[in-house]
Symmetry: C2
Subunit: 206 residues, 2 copies
């Protein structure tokens, strides 16, 4: 039976899909591996993301916890604060982006942006399958580059933990567990959806 942290369900001001409202980034994972079929669906969802000129600049380095050595190597590339909880995830992904367009070798200004789209698709698919995803910027970028010999033209970017969320009360790290309690908060729409004047709300969100 998968744990569901009902406190973390979004309290939206307008109707949104359950798969978006239910998503949160847990610190408490229960240590179960992720089934291959589910993992492949998550990766496939990322695959069909939109990208500028369909470049698909995203690259994933995948480590499943069933492969202990590979998982430990990937884990060691996270900041220590992230290792503390990500060690209980079922899958770790280290991401990278291709810096230039393959069609003309020009710089791709939106490579990270499009990686974000792909990883968001992965997250949506994972949520639909009862999995939880916690993305991280806290990565030892240079260590990723050296460990995996990331070639020139590519840059390490983020990390993604996928797994089954656990009840934070069962988590032996009280400090991290406390972050899984209490409601999620977001800036209201009028604070970031602007009309003709940057900083002033659009009519639609007034």
């Amino acid at each position: 039976m998968n744990y569901k942290n009902t406190e973390k369900v979004a309290r939206p001001d307008h109707d949104i899909l359950p798969v978006i409202a239910d998503r949160y980034s847990p610190y408490a994972f229960d240590g179960r591996p992720v089934e291959r079929a589910k993992l492949l669906s998550c990766l496939e969802a990322a695959r069909w993301a939109a990208s500028s000129f369909n470049e698909q600049p995203w690259r994933y380095i995948l480590a499943e916890r069933t492969d202990e050595a590979a998982f430990a190597t990937a884990l060691s590339c996270l900041l220590e604060a992230n290792q503390a909880w990500a060690q209980h995830a079922g899958v770790l992904i280290l991401t990278a982006v291709k810096r230039t367009f393959t069609r003309n070798d020009k710089p791709n200004r939106v490579a990270e942006h499009d990686l974000g789209i792909a990883s968001a698709n992965l997250t949506t698919q994972a949520t639909a399958l009862g999995l939880a995803v916690h993305q991280m910027a806290g990565v030892e970028l240079q260590k990723v580059r050296l460990t995996y010999k990331i070639p020139e033209g590519f840059d390490p970017s983020t990390a993604i933990a996928i797994g089954y969320a656990a009840d934070p009360d069962t988590f032996d790290n009280a400090d991290l567990a406390s972050r899984d309690k209490g409601p999620r908060s977001r800036n209201p729409l009028p604070e970031w959806v602007f009309g003709e004047k940057f900083g002033s709300p659009a009519d639609a969100v007034k």
Copy 2:
């Protein structure tokens, strides 16, 4: 009755949500406005996206086609090639990112990445509501900055067209209409999901 371009539905190798498989970036929009309730749901979905330290670095400048002057202003900030089709969208959004974390004024390396997550959530919600989304990197960035007086600390980034997709055979621009025909293609998983060696497929996708 909304048009559905069945040729553009993804042909995935592994099960994915219909809301991800059905999404594509149309060139042919039918010129209808987007209902306010649907628009608010799309924005709300973006709002609940994940971001590093919950910074929510995304900002949207919103122009609905029902406001002709505002729509024309936003449209004029797109590259001409994009204006040709985006003029038929129901809503245009110009995006920007906040460069630093509000909590400590340090640079936010993943601002565009997290904008990508938010805009992906918007796209997923829109698809569920029968809307189509076409994101663009082809934006006159400096024109956006000057037109909307984007303050220091923020940078214009992408544009998003939201509306109702049209049958490309009804589109008066044959060149653009042709892009809405034919299947979508994506790199297979083994080409971008790597194991311990960057460039070599992970076991899970072999």
